[in-house]
Amino acid sequence: MNETIFSDTWARMQTEIARVVVGQQELVEGLLVGLVARGHVLVEGAPGLGKTLVARALAAASGCSFKRIQFTPDLMPSDVTGSSIFDRDKGAFVFVPGPIFGQLLLADEINRAPAKTQSSLLEAMQERQVTVDGTSRPLPAPFVVIATQNPIESQGTYPLPEAQLDRFLLKLAVEDPPRDVETAIVKNHAHGFDPTDLSLVQQAATAELLLAMQTWAQQIRVDDAIVGYVVDLVRRTREDRAIELGASPRASIALMKAAQVLAAASGRSFVTPDDVKPMAKAVLRHRVMLHPDAQLQGVSADERIDEILRAVPVPRLA
């Protein structure tokens, strides 16, 4: 692995995904960052914006196996992890793996399942293994959870607890597409595009290549000045008046990892502030809890992070 192979593979995956996904570059880039940085991604957006399509296209382009779980209020943890079933022929309990045993797991509408089921994902996300009936079973590598949630409907939902939110490397906000992009999407469908048919997407990577990319990204140089910048940004969330609970040191690590991946994608072997700033919102927005006063005033986490980015000077020698 070297800079060129990394950036070429990255670009090829983007190109392949773009064959079926119009627009949504930030979402695609965020998912790729999550995949290569060994992080999980929470995607928040209204229904119909192509979240599932992007995830499936990513699986097709990256050569990873794809599994999908539709979270519902009656979903049980064993529906996610799998369970042991008595096999009459063998006369013994046989473990039947659940959908979590995939490389790219789409947890659709994760906030519709109760906390008990949501927390069944915790071990898988953190330890990359599942323990059922006292036996731990490793998950295939790479393993990435792409969870989606709808920000509008709150009836009958179970907001993710902070502990679980912190497990997500990034939280991506999917916005409505601009008019020209939406026009292009509609035109594609008018010309017979079938979102269930991803035969257009060519495989641009393999699981092994992705693992090598993950290793390479970890070796990207991070100067002390950049580390200081990352720490300053995250610490500032704890000092902000409008934020009740700031981001933890885990956020600093996540921001640094995401920046490393972005630097590698740019074909560089070192991180610059230009790699840190674009990832700050995605890394921090779900890790800060706004003060009720600020919430009532309509202040959003993104606005506070923007303010923090403006307040913290970028490292510069001169």
Partner: protein, 595 residues
């Protein structure tokens, strides 16, 4: 008698190196000069013709091969197009004149207001800051810690930064040199308004926001090198620094150079070049130089150095109608002549200094006959249009008009002398090109008896100001200067307000949250909407408790159920306030516990 006086006058002056002007070859010299390129006034005269050139139009037909000038003069005599039908426009302009004035004043007021507004806002904010500080000294503020300013922000001059970078480079501190070159380039672009320097912006953001496509590529190259050195851990080499230096210098000095080129281009297109003005003196200067005389500019006449004892100072030629003399200059010029200088006045006699005692004596003749009486019996005749002549009691006449009036004379003044010539027409390009005139002009100037002649320009008659301020005031720009100073002060304050160092941002002046809640509660109580308030609070508390993922006790569930069943339009039952307090306590206690 005249011949004796003139001889005495010439012999009494100190001996000097004298240019021998030869009127006999003047015609040939003029022809050669015109063929050599000094024919612009004839072939392509300045457009439009200057007023002085228009006055020389009758010469055009008398000059050989001067069709350009003649055509330009003919064009002047054509009937102008009938524009009487446009008179309604004149009436319209007269009618809207007052309205335009009012609009103009309103515009001035708006501009002043726009300039003053930031200042006023700053004062109000400062006042509010002080007030807020007094009222809530212990309030928790999101104080932005201002880091040490980097060089690009601290230094406002790109050239200084370039020099500093070069010094770092020379000292061998290449990393520092690279960064300082980048700072210089950024500062230069910031000064041109192409980018905006801010502490929180990254190098990549500067490149992406660079509005000038030509500047973007070199800036990107600089940023790439600097990033590698600063964050890539790779020490910079001399070649890399040299590349960055080259690009930074191009960015810093690129625009000023372009402006200079533009100005030089504009300059060449603005002027018509030498020799194109029929009323100019280019031909005279060239003719005198061809005859062996040194010709140059005088510079400010008020600072003309006085001639030294026994030294032949250059003669000075002043066309007083074109070079108005202020009192100081006039006094100095007379003093200079009295000290041994030779002053050649070429203008209508009424504009000469009164102290010389010349009197206007108009003539009807267009002929001027020059007879210098220098031993040669020859005379030279010139043909002119203007009919100026004079009488001069102390002067010795050596050129007369056709009706025997004095056209040129010479007189002593102290240790020097003054040569008076009734008009400068003879020395213009157009007049000199006319047959016979060049010889007459040289015969007149031969009386100067110097090998160097300095000609005053229109601006030389004014005493140089001691400082720029007095120059502006003398030029009648005192009021404008005052306005400009006030405007500059306002702009300075305006820009200073904007560019002032970041200060801790005060917390927005608003009601405290508790006050807000109390006020809202009081409003809802007045409007008997406490069930509505209870319902809203219930939803809020439930959302917060769920967000924390904590178990909800039975008591809490009952409270929430009571809140949920409250209907917005129902009559208050009386327990709303109690339930709300209990719900509020749930959030507060949990929140404090977490913190």
């Amino acid at each position: 008698m005249k011949r004796i006086l003139l001889c005495v006058l010439l012999l009494s002056w100190p001996a000097s190196a004298r240019a021998d002007l030869d009127p006999d070859r003047a015609e040939r010299d003029v022809a050669a000069l015109r063929n050599g390129g000094l024919d612009g006034f004839c072939a392509a005269p300045s457009k439009p013709l200057p007023p002085r050139a228009i006055a020389l139009c009758p010469h055009a037909r008398e000059i050989k091969d001067c069709s350009g000038f003649a055509n330009a003069c003919d064009a002047l005599s054509k009937k102008p197009p009938d524009l009487t039908w446009l008179r309604w426009l004149d009436k319209l302009f007269r009618a809207i004149g007052p309205v335009v004035q009012v609009v103009l004043w309103i515009l001035v007021a708006v501009v002043l207001g726009a300039l003053l507004w930031p200042l006023v806002r700053m004062l109000i904010r400062a006042h509010r800051d002080r007030q807020a500080k007094d009222e809530a000294p212990a309030a928790k503020l999101a104080i932005v810690e201002v880091p040490a300013a980097d060089e690009a922000l601290a230094e406002s001059d790109a050239e200084t930064l370039l020099a500093r970078a070069a010094a770092h480079e020379a000292r061998g501190d290449l990393s520092r040199a690279l960064s300082t070159y980048l700072a210089a380039a950024l500062r230069a672009l910031d000064l041109r308004g192409i980018i905006r320097l801010e502490r929180h912006r990254t190098n990549g953001e500067y490149v992406r926001s660079c509005a000038d496509a030509d500047a973007r590529a070199p800036l990107r190259d600089i940023v790439r090198e600097v990033d590698v050195a600063e964050f890539g851990g790779r020490p910079p080499d001399r070649d890399g620094v040299a590349r960055v230096s080259k690009r930074a210098i191009a960015l810093v000095r690129g625009l000023p150079l372009a402006v200079l080129l533009l100005l030089s281009g504009c300059g060449s297109s603005l002027g018509g070049g030498p020799g194109h003005d029929p009323a100019g003196d280019d031909l005279l200067v060239a003719l005198l130089k061809r005859q062996g005389m040194t010709v140059g500019r005088t510079g400010p006449l008020a600072t003309l150095p006085l001639p030294k004892e026994g030294e032949a100072a250059p003669a000075v030629m002043v066309d007083v109608t074109r070079t108005p003399l202020d009192d100081d200059t006039l006094a100095h010029l007379v003093h200079w002549a009295k000290s041994g200088g030779v002053l050649v006045l070429v203008a209508a006699p009424q504009s000469w200094p009164k102290t010389l005692g010349a009197k206007d004596d108009p003539t009807l003749s267009e002929e001027v006959v020059v007879s210098p009486d220098d031993g040669r019996e020859q005379t030279w005749t010139a043909h002119l249009l203007h009919r100026d002549a004079f009488t001069w009691e102390k002067g010795v006449t050596f050129a007369k008009t056709g009706d025997d009036r004095t056209f040129a004379a010479v007189r002593e003044l102290g240790e020097g002398r003054v040569v008076g010539i009734a008009g400068s027409e003879l020395f213009t390009n157009a007049a000199l090109a006319r047959k016979g005139n060049a010889a007459a002009a040289l015969a007149i100037l031969d009386i100067v008896d110097r090998d160097e002649l300095r000609i005053a320009r229109p601006e030389d008659g004014t005493t140089p100001p001691s400082n720029p301020l007095s120059a502006l005031i003398r030029a009648g720009l005192g009021l404008g200067l005052g306005h400009a100073m006030v405007a500059t002060l306002l702009l300075f304050l305006f820009a200073g307000t904007r560019l002032t160092r970041p200060t801790p941002r005060p917390s927005p002046r608003r009601r405290a949250f508790a006050e807000h809640v109390e006020a809202t509660g009081a409003l809802w109580a007045r409007t008997r909407l406490s069930p509505h308030a209870l319902r809203l609070l219930g939803r809020f508390v439930e959302a917060r408790l769920r967000a924390r993922g904590e178990p909800i006790s039975e008591v809490t569930q009952q409270l929430l159920a009571r809140a949920h069943e409250a209907r917005t339009d129902e009559t208050p039952r009386g327990d709303e306030l109690r339930v709300m307090k209990q719900l509020g306590a749930l959030v507060t206690s949990n929140s404090e516990g977490r913190r």
